[in-house]
């Protein structure tokens, strides 16, 4: 593991600077979008950009956007701590910047974090995962609508997945890595709860109890900030999670002493979990678990089974709660990520592949014309059937679907998948065929066409 601590340590990042910032506190340094950062050694970083007010300048809603993004990040962080090697960063515009300043635009921050443009003080590590979250706020009378966007990726790695059937491989990938979620309505009461939850999270307390003594972090952060940016990079280390609370430890740079305390990270809205109000947080949490699993898998490790199961549960919880738009791309992608986690968690087990196959098929039904959704569904089915029965069933339907996927995507990997399908079929195809199955001659004819097309690509 890249993190040099004897026990699992998680980073709690510069969000602390933001958490305790006062709008008028011009002297307090915040993690500015102009100098973005992630924790390079963390396997997965979740970066939350400010939720912007959709209609120009409104200082109270802009503050609200910062506070909401902070609460969102705290909530997500507290739920994904167990995955280990997690970094979390919240960014905002520097004090005095115009709301029209583009520094916090996701594409600009992302380019810096990936190192394609200069500006990041720490870049995403090669092969490491990132969930970039941002959003918009819309006001309607007493209500505010919140729309979240998320993009996920691993630096320098594709999100592709391979499946095997009798030594012949197939590849597939999620249908999208940039998602717009359904806007959620916050009532006036919930807006007030954002404020009160923020105030509760504004303390580092001696015990995990809102009534225990504590101190506001602004003073601590101010000291830290005065010691220069480098001390911030070490961040705050999360040592323990207990219910809605996390215990953090940090170095007080001026006193050269270790300090610790508790933050009420997942207080939600007066006891209502934040992800009940904003179900997309379940997606973000599950997506972080997905990325953690992919990073571990790429490094030849395995996450404990309960963590994989948790990621799957979070993603499926999101699908259930996204019933407003049951055919939404976000639901389909959530199912695909769940399927990939299930598959990678137990590559050699047929039951893992069976569950993954069911998830991919469910996603395909939501977006039946999407070539990536078709490919994942068919590839997993073929692999599962081969492992279970040593043959491929309903070959006509599979050929029809994967042919359509190849035609829609028009790329070489899609043709390779189709060629692989026919080669698997040829292993067991008979001469007579049936209503649902192609004959050997038909498969050979189709394979010949595919190989001919592939040779021109």
């Amino acid at each position: 593991m890249p993190i040099p601590r004897s026990h699992t340590i998680w980073y709690l990042s510069a969000f602390a600077t933001l958490l305790f910032a006062r709008p008028a506190g011009a002297d307090i340094s915040h993690r500015s979008c102009k100098t973005p950062m992630v924790f390079e050694d963390a396997a997965v970083n979740v970066v939350v950009l400010p939720y912007r007010y959709a209609a120009g300048n409104n200082s109270s809603l802009s503050d609200m956007g910062n506070r909401l993004s902070l609460l969102i990040k705290l909530n997500v962080l507290s739920h994904i701590l167990d995955y280990g090697s997690i970094g979390a960063v919240q960014m905002e515009l520097p004090p005095g910047a115009s709301q029209d300043d583009r520094a916090c635009q996701p594409e600009i921050v992302l380019s810096a974090l990936l190192g394609t443009v200069p500006g990041a003080t720490q870049k995403l590590g090669l092969g490491h995962g990132l969930v970039l979250v941002w959003g918009l706020l819309y006001e309607d009378g007493d209500d505010v609508f919140v729309q979240t966007y998320a993009r996920f990726l691993r630096r320098g790695a594709e999100e592709g997945m391979t499946f095997d059937a009798g030594g012949i491989s197939f590849s597939g990938k999620p249908s999208a890595q940039l998602l717009a979620f359904t806007p959620q309505k916050l009532s006036q009461k919930q807006l007030e709860q954002v404020e009160s939850s923020y105030k509760k999270a504004d303390f580092v307390r001696t015990e995990p109890n809102d009534n225990s003594p504590g101190e506001q972090l602004p003073q601590l952060v101010a000291k830290c900030v005065n010691c220069g940016e480098s001390s911030l990079y070490g961040g705050l280390y999360v040592e323990e999670k207990r219910g809605e609370w996390i215990r953090i430890q940090w170095m007080n740079p001026t006193g050269h002493e270790n300090k610790q305390g508790w933050i009420h990270a997942a207080g939600g809205f007066e006891g209502t979990p934040l992800d009940k109000v904003l179900p997309e947080l379940k997606f973000i949490e599950g997506c972080a678990g997905y990325l953690r699993q992919r990073v571990a898998d790429a490094e030849g490790h395995q996450l404990p089974g309960e963590l994989s199961s948790r990621a799957v549960a979070e993603l499926k919880d999101f699908v259930q709660s996204n019933d407003f738009e049951p055919t939404d791309m976000a639901s389909a992608v959530a199912l695909q990520l769940a399927g990939i986690v299930e598959y990678t968690a137990g590559r050699e087990r047929v039951d893992s592949l069976t569950r993954a196959s069911q998830d991919f098929e469910e996603a395909r039904k939501l977006i039946p014309s999407d070539p990536d959704a078709i490919t994942l569904a068919v590839a997993a089915q073929v692999s599962q059937e081969w492992k279970e029965k040593g043959r491929c069933e309903q070959t006509f339907q599979k050929a029809q679907r994967l042919s359509a996927a190849a035609a829609l995507s028009s790329d070489k990997p899609a043709l390779v998948n189709l060629s692989s399908l026919y080669r698997v079929m040829l292993k067991t195809a008979d001469t007579t065929g049936s209503a649902n199955n192609l004959t050997r001659t038909e498969v050979q004819k189709r394979l010949s066409i595919v190989d001919s097309l592939a040779s021109t690509k």
Binding site: Y138, D140, Y149, T182, K185, S369, S410, V450
Partner: protein, 276 residues
């Protein structure tokens, strides 16, 4: 600037028909490039009944115009109402950006706004078509207190399919229905697919047409179906037309040797459809 362009336009006496013929002769892309070089990139727009898009974007890319959102009274709006108008605009713009991806550039058209749907006549559509605009969206807040209003859509390449290809979606609460209006972004792949079909880029058209048809189906079905029955009926007609051109696109694409469209399996009647 607009005045100068109008004079230039009058001086050259380029009629809409002339432009269309020229476009047929040299191709839309070439014409667009020529106009751009001549500094007449917005010539098509100069014919417009309403003002040019403030940020029309580069000539070579497909574009989606997001116009100003206004009150129906046209009177100066209160600060609170202005916020609502900006909110609707931002919402439409951001969701269309995600939906269009790299296929089209979403442009903020400033104060451009049609006085009514009839502003989108043949001349206007031709101008938009020359500018490679595939979709134009605007919105009217009729009752700021209660939030009722409409969202308008001009599906530029769809005009020959389902004239006038201008749709107005009513809503009793515009902001509240923005949750549904996220699905408005379904029209982005649809119009891009139609445009590719019209440009005879059949293989490129098919995936967009299929994605658009799928998303349009989602928009029109279920308890959260978008718009009123009249709107949905018209959209079902459009969906049927799209199915027909998808069939044509696949058949045409299959005529080119070496294209993956040859992999589509025909139905028993020989027709082709998107994967179901």
């Amino acid at each position: 600037m607009l005045q100068i362009r109008r004079q230039t336009y009058n001086h050259l006496k380029w009629t809409t028909g002339g432009l269309r013929k020229l476009k047929q002769l040299v191709g839309a892309r070439v014409l667009s490039a020529i106009l751009s070089i001549l500094g007449l990139g917005s010539l098509g727009q100069a014919q417009s009944k309403f003002i040019n898009c403030a940020d029309p974007g580069p000539p070579e890319v497909y574009k989606i115009y997001v116009d100003e959102v206004r009150t129906s009274s046209g009177q100066t709006a209160s600060a609170q109402t202005r916020q609502k108008l900006q909110t609707v605009h931002r919402f439409l713009s951001d969701n269309l950006k995600v939906s269009a991806g790299k296929n089209a550039s979403v442009r903020d058209c400033g104060t451009r706004f049609p006085s009514d749907a009839t502003d989108f006549d043949d001349r206007e559509f031709d101008g938009l078509d020359n500018m490679r605009v595939v979709l134009e969206v605007w919105s009217v807040l009729e009752d700021p207190a209660h939030g009722s209003g409409t969202i308008g859509l001009a599906l530029v390449p769809a005009r020959p399919l389902i004239p006038p290809a201008v749709f107005v979606v009513p809503s009793t609460n515009l902001l509240n229905s923005l949750r549904q209006a996220k699905q408005m972004s379904a029209f982005a792949p649809l119009v891009l697919g139609i445009r590719n079909f019209q440009n005879k880029k059949y293989a490129d058209a098919v995936p967009l047409l299929c994605a658009g048809t799928q998303q349009l189906g989602a928009v029109l079905s279920g308890q959260n179906a978008l718009g009123d029955p009249a709107f949905r009926t018209r959209q079902q007609e459009l969906r049927q037309k799209i199915k027909e051109i998808t069939n044509s696109a696949i058949k045409e694409a299959r005529k080119t040797p070496g294209t993956t469209s040859q992999l589509f399996d025909p139905a028993s009647d020989g027709s082709f459809t998107c994967p179901q």
